[in-house]
């Protein structure tokens, strides 16, 4: 895997990811998703569609859910949190615990993104109604269709 340093003629971009400051030397238009996965080896954030349609790549930018597959690193102003560190937040911890208690996952590939979206929802709205869940979670596809348990888990989180 490529190290964070490179001999290539790319700018150095400073990012704050999971509380750590990292400098990456990559094309400025590189989406955050590929910096996370290919440069920093944070593979918990998933590639699903590349056009912001499926939500598998969801991370937090200053606590707000964003699709990292369409977010060039040059546009990032703020702190990034990924699935690897979301358990260190109160909301993330609650969501993960609920996911475990209700056995939400099947294949699991979308679940990083689901949990990131759910954690952002819970952080700003600890007791979401069904409409709130629909609004916050309908950008996250699950092809195993674990949706009934996702909804139930958010309600107990």
């Amino acid at each position: 895997m490529q190290s964070a340093k490179s001999s290539q003629p790319w700018p150095v971009t400073r990012l704050v990811i999971n509380g750590k400051t990292v400098d990456v030397t990559v094309p400025a238009d590189m989406p955050l998703l590929w910096v996370l996965r290919d440069v920093l080896a944070l593979t918990g954030t998933k590639f699903g569609c590349g056009i912001g349609q499926c939500g598998a790549c969801t991370v937090h930018l200053d606590g707000n859910p964003v699709r990292s597959c369409v977010l060039p690193i040059s546009a990032i102003k703020g702190e990034i949190t990924t699935i690897e560190a979301i358990g260190e937040t109160t909301a993330g911890k609650r969501v993960q615990a609920a996911w475990l208690a209700l056995e939400v996952v099947q294949c699991g590939y979308c679940q990083s993104g689901q949990i990131m979206s759910a954690a952002a929802l819970i952080a700003r709205n600890p007791h979401p109604r069904d409409q709130d869940i629909d609004a916050a979670m309908s950008g996250n596809l699950c092809r195993c269709c674990t949706y009934p348990r996702i909804r139930a888990a958010i309600k107990v989180a």
């Binding site: 593979t43 998933k46 056995e103 099947q106 294949c107 309908s138």
Partner: protein, 739 residues
Amino acid sequence: MKTYWAIGENALPDSARRRFLTAGALVVGFAFVRPLRAFEREPDLAAVGALDAAATGFDGFVPDGFIRISVDGRIVLVVPSVEMGQGIATGEAMMIAEELEVGLDQVEVELAPADQHAYTQSLLKAQATGGSTSVRAFFIPLRQAGAAARTMLIGAAAERWRVSPAECTVARGVITHQRTGRTLTYGAVASAARRQAVPGEVSLKPASQFKLIGKPAKRVDTAAKVNGTARFGIDTIVEGMRVAAIAMCPTIGGRLLSLDERASRALPGVVDILRIDDAIAVVGENYWTAKRGLDLLKIEWDAGPHATLTSATLAESLRSADATPINGSLTGDPDRVIEEAGQRRIEATYDLPYLAHAALEPINTTIHVRPDGCDIWVGTQVPEIARIVAAEIIGLPPDKVIVRNHLIGGGFGRRLAVDTIQQAARFGMQVGYPLKIIWTREQDIQHDRFRPAYHDTIAAALDSDGLPMAWIHRTRSGTVRSYYDRKPWPQGQLDGDAVAGAKDLPYAIPALRSEWVRQDGPVALNWWRGVGETHNVFVVESFLDELAHIAGQDPVAYRRALLGNNPRSLAVLNKAAQASGWGKPLPPRCARGISLHDSFGTHAALVMEVEVDTQGEIRLRRATVAVDCGIAVNPNSVLAQIEGGVLFGLSAALYNGITFEGGRVQQSNFHDYRQIRINEVPPFDVFVMPSDEKPGGLGEVGTVSAAPALANAIYAATGVRLRALPIDRNELGEKGKQS
């Protein structure tokens, strides 16, 4: 459960392992299984010998391919089926643990490495996971494996104590000599157990004594899947690895004509540009630089022989297919009865589209080809076939190819095909470094191997009570076998998948024929969740609903009248009807529809309740399922598979059809190959009937139920009979009866 390993990373050395796995295979009776036809390799019976754990490199007791117990007490259960969300790693671990007498909290679970000798399963006759076969195939062998190992461990303890094994009991991996109260752990006797004779026969517990099976268990893979540490194939990172983005010829059967790669080569971060007949790989330091390099290529494709192919021409060739029909089943003389039925003869035609699998993890393979061997990191439903096809392309003996299988980010049948691994081998053998290839979502959809399209004609004759007394169902389609098997599927030979769900109905119909007209075409085909049943049950259950309405009878009562010989189906029908409030009044433009089927050894009834507005938009109001799957190994997984399976089927029925224009697939990503989302999901009730019958399959049952129940509900709400999928909302909006 302690950890969940990426598969095979700590596998035993292959040559050493085989000997013991084969010995284990004899215990559980695998050696008598006929291997997969296309990849035939006889079990190496000569290698069956005395157990000799020293040669395995595992310090402990390795009685077979499924169980490893170390001298320090680690208990590793190796599950033979691939985990792609269906929960089989947990279910199979439960089967082994039940007879081994250990708790799931005491074991580590690993997925099996590629090894056809050890892990061939009896229904698919290959080391493969699909067709809702895993539980059915392994329910006895895995419990036998657990019982054999337990017998040997107890035997070792009894020998040490110089007592009869009959005086010993075991619970949670601790053996107790009842009379004296002495105890030994499995770890303490692991070395000694190696010298115990493999029992020729073992007896299994009756269901009444199950401690694990039948009780809801926590999945063994959940923790890693909620904290980002679960490793899928796409997450592979190995030393020196490079990443490729690829371009594939957009038309079916086309080839690369010319390539100007100068601009791409000049791009910083581009490492290599590789070509095969119908694709180009740009290799980069990471995926993004590879993708940018790819965008700079100037490619000319030879569109090939199918450049004018359209969905209309494909549909026409299917409709006009006139090969001699091959019977799937025949009872009585349905032709004569229907011929003589006059006004009581009913006919209909149904059409189903090609479908893509669209699993959320895009296709990917990481491969490292060296002169002396090859490693492949991938998620595949067929690890042994993957190994063999890669070895052939690279020119290595199969035992030099190691398939490091992974959790799969959704299979649905896509990872039964190995075209993607063959492509990776062709690229990988051109370079000396580990190469990760990732398809885009667009490629994953457009270069899928599709669920076949179908054109069905169906006819019935009604008796004086309005019930079908004769039934002829003709399905026209290609066969997946033509694209999957090494040898061409023989003309005139039935592909059972084409008539699955059509040849044996839950209902008693005195004269019945199901038949298949084969029409292969240029579109590469593959199995898709629910396989033949998803298609045929839609036709059967929709048509039966038509007959009920023509007969002026309630669809549930009508089915009930045909189930005199099928008490398990009758029970699920009645349960779903009662629990859904069948027959109770609903608001305008709202209605219920039912489907019933027996597939994969399981009986299932689904009632969908929907609302169709005046624009033809459909709202799912409620889903009620009753299922009799025999013994529910892990009831928690049963519920998950039924809910997920129904929604997966609804998603396709509501939105999906792959179409072609100019030889190209027209859909590309989730904006135009839409999938159901959380805001569309109705409340679910799933009822699992208590049963001591042998377990049935589950992964595909809900998917089979979905489309017909939905279409029947829409008919009840609007009066529009949907004989084609996906659902045409324009038809509902224009023709739907006004409230």
